[in-house]
């Protein structure tokens, strides 16, 4: 074990994946010699050469298309989109091409090796175009896997699993936690299975569900209400597509209450999907309406970022309301 921040864990996962398999190739804007604007790919070019870790021109659709072709050829591309806010030029390649590659060819061709990493989320004064959480767009696309880690340990294990998964994976990294989150991480390679949620805190009164950077707020709120005698079960979804219904269902059947929180705007957000599924399955067990604590239905703001953010206090307040329903 060694202490790493989330960036170091990502870098370590890439390093081990590249060492393990010569077919793993990393590329994106500024990721070569410079090591990426956040340094997630630090020293990889030096170590594995320019052929396996290189800069691309500024063309997200080109990066995604290139990665898809490279994966179809049998290589294991790990492409970086510099900010999730800039993934939209690649949307067609991801949604119409990567996600449908295996299906449309009758399983003759696939992009099994494809992973697209991208930093997402707010809380860094990044305003409209350096703060978005676009996961829900991708969760509406059969054929993709969508993964969002919240700790250094998860980031490494989930990224290694994503790279080795035989399906295309979009890997959203919580950039607010890149350096803020520190934790013990094994030095050797390991994988955390995709599609499995993690119960990070056991409790009996209400289930709090989130992913990525939002976990920090959920855990803080759980701690606060604990002092008032409210016991929260906190679940980190980890993989949004396909998501671990069973774990959430079992928890809600136990606690009778569910609060879901994400940074993205509420309307069309992934909390809506979870909410619908859980009310179908846990209708009779529910003691109160499923609560959503989310971003507002606005572009991501700057001056009033704190007001926008679904922070600890908003979660605290929603827990209290749910319990007193």
């Amino acid at each position: 074990m060694t202490t790493m921040n989330l960036l170091q864990a990502v870098n370590n996962a890439l390093d081990l994946a590249m060492a393990e398999n010569d077919s793993v190739i990393c590329f994106g804007e500024d990721i070569g010699k410079f090591g990426g604007v956040f340094r997630a790919t630090s020293r990889l070019q030096e170590k594995y050469g320019r052929d396996r870790c290189f800069n691309t021109p500024i063309t997200e659709q080109g990066i995604a298309g290139f990665a898809i072709g490279l994966a179809a050829q049998g290589s294991v591309p790990v492409a970086e989109i510099q900010f999730a806010d800039y993934i939209f030029p690649a949307f067609d390649q991801i949604v119409n091409e990567a996600a449908k590659f295996r299906y449309r060819s009758g399983d003759q061709f696939n992009v099994a090796g494809l992973t697209i990493r991208t930093p997402y989320g707010g809380g860094i004064a990044g305003a409209l175009y350096h703060s978005q959480s676009p996961e829900a767009y991708f969760c509406h696309t059969p054929g993709l896997k969508v993964v969002m880690p919240s700790t250094p340990y998860q980031a490494k294990g989930l990224l290694m699993a994503a790279i080795n998964d035989p399906n295309p994976v979009i890997f959203f990294e919580p950039k607010r936690l890149y350096r803020a989150a520190k934790g013990d991480v094994p030095e050797q390679a390991y994988e955390i299975p995709l599609g499995v949620a993690e119960v990070v805190r056991s409790g009996s009164d209400i289930t709090l569900l989130g992913w990525g950077a939002q976990m920090e707020y959920l855990l803080e709120a759980a701690e606060q209400v604990q002092q008032e005698g409210i016991s929260c079960e906190v679940i980190d979804l980890c993989t949004l597509l396909p998501w671990d219904i069973e774990t959430v269902e079992a928890s809600v059947n136990k606690t009778g209450r569910l609060l879901i929180s994400h940074e993205a705007p509420r309307t069309g957000g992934f909390a809506g999907e979870i909410s619908a599924t859980i009310q179908e399955r846990c209708f009779l067990a529910l003691e109160s309406p499923i609560a959503r604590v989310t971003g507002l239905d606005t572009p991501f703001p700057l001056a009033y970022e704190k007001e926008y953010m679904p922070g600890t206090l908003k979660i605290y307040d929603a827990i209290k309301r749910s319990l007193s329903f």
Binding site: P57, Q61, F66, Q73, S75, Q93, E97, R104, G106, G195
Partner: protein, 439 residues
């Protein structure tokens, strides 16, 4: 010459002053990079002169227009199938030439029969290659079997060249149990792993950056293989074209881009698609070796692609070939060209038929005869009709193919949804004739 789009009509004219009968690339200035290696051997004065020269300064204002760059069109065969007197030497052996010819004829027959089948209501949709067979076959014939082909959707002739059978064509067109694609895509979205022919997808130009990535993998594998990527002049307006060409040049990959400039994108003519000197001029802008050829001249297309492949694989660098041709048919069976172009224009191009032109060349070489032709066409018609009759009656793929291959393994959610669906279908089988009795 006006500063407007290259008109397709200029290409067909054998007297066109901008055509060339010898193999010439419009080269980018990428070669200048090695120049400064020799600096050590030069004195300071000549070094300074060189620096000034490389700055390429001017002290007088002047814009550059397309007129400054008149990209010639390579032609080898005249309209009558006779080689131009000053044409470059042709290196196409009899076996390959006949394989090319038979492939073009097969596709012509297939296209005619399938349009008829669509008109009879036996097939939902079809797209013909008519008029563009030489652009596709001439380029495909220059490849090695290990090379990947990534097409747009009108390149069935390349697939046939590599041995796709009539059963396989019909299987895809009818989307039933013999379809390699498991009945999931509209007709003409062929694909064959065995023949290194990437499955077609409808979105335009997406295959271009993908071809670049695929070719990068081939470069890394070091087996001397490359990727050939087809697209139309309309698709070249998509962002993916520009993304792909730029990345191909920068990432130095062995990919051959073949643009079928066939005059129309559905109904939109080229002069409403672009204003520069065709698609070729863009290749040069991206630092890519580029050549324009008469796409109805199989010998020109083949010679250009042979040279392109050699260059691409030897240098790990892309090449762009712009084939000037004409889409004689409609965009698809859902299209009616009478709404946007004249019969005269179509007939003028029918007279420049690439198959007839190549046939005359074969006849002149005594490699082909009218008797053989009659037999060949009869064989193709008979075979295609009999296979069509057989395959159109075959059952669909199993119902479960609805959910397989979305992921490598169906997710729990998907399996649950499938179970729900099965239950529903069992309850109301009379409303679902396609799946009734197949559960």
């Amino acid at each position: 010459m006006s500063n407007t789009a290259v008109s397709n009509s200029t290409v067909s004219n054998s007297n066109d002053s901008s055509s060339t009968h010898s193999d010439s690339y419009a080269s980018s200035n990428a070669d200048s990079a090695s120049a400064d290696q020799q600096l050590n051997h030069e004195n300071l004065a000549s070094y300074e002169a060189k620096v000034l020269d490389e700055l390429n300064e001017t002290h007088q204002l002047g814009f550059i227009t397309s007129d400054n760059l008149r990209i010639p069109t390579l032609k080898i065969l005249q309209a009558n199938g006779v080689e131009f007197e000053d044409a470059m030497a042709v290196h196409l052996n009899k076996e390959t030439a006949l394989h090319c010819y038979k492939t073009m004829q097969y596709i012509r027959v297939l296209d005619e029969r399938m349009v008829a089948a669509q008109r009879q209501g036996r097939l939902s949709f079809y797209i013909v290659c008519t008029g563009e067979e030489a652009s596709v076959v001439g380029s495909a014939a220059a490849l090695q079997p290990g090379d990947m082909i990534m097409g747009q959707y009108r390149e069935q002739a390349a697939l046939r060249y590599r041995g796709f059978t009539t059963e396989q064509f019909m299987g895809q067109l009818f989307g039933n149990e013999t379809d390699l694609g498991k009945g999931r895509q509209m007709p003409i979205h062929y694909g064959s792993k065995a023949l290194n022919y990437m499955t077609i997808s409808s979105p335009l130009a997406t295959q271009i950056p993908q071809a670049v990535g695929y070719a990068y993998g081939q470069k890394m594998a070091g087996k001397g293989e490359c990727t050939l990527c087809y697209f139309g002049e309309g698709a070249a307006s998509e962002g993916d074209f520009h993304a792909g060409l730029n990345m191909a040049a920068v990432q130095e990959v062995p990919v051959i881009f073949v643009c079928r400039n066939n005059g129309y994108a559905i109904s939109t003519p080229t002069d409403e698609q672009y204003k520069g000197d065709g698609i070729a001029s863009r290749g040069i802008g991206y630092g890519i070796k580029t050549i324009r050829v008469d796409g109805n001249d199989l010998l020109a297309v083949h010679a250009a692609t042979v040279a392109a492949r050699d260059f691409a694989v030897t240098n790990n660098a892309p090449v762009l070939i712009e084939c000037m041709t004409y889409r004689v048919g409609g965009h698809s069976t859902s299209d009616d060209p009478s709404g946007y172009r004249s019969k005269d224009e179509e007939n003028a191009w029918r007279n420049k038929d690439p198959i007839k032109r190549f046939k005359h060349w074969l006849l002149n070489k005594n490699w082909w005869s009218e008797d053989e032709e009659t037999l060949l066409l009869e064989d193709y018609r008979t075979e295609i009709l009999s296979v069509l009759k057989k395959v159109e009656k075959l059952p669909l793929q199993p119902l479960r193919t609805l959910i397989t291959d979305v992921y490598e393994q169906p997710s729990a959610q998907l399996q649950e949804q499938y179970a729900e669906l099965e239950e529903h279908l069992r309850q109301y089988p009379e409303h679902y004739p396609a799946s009734a009795g197949r559960l």
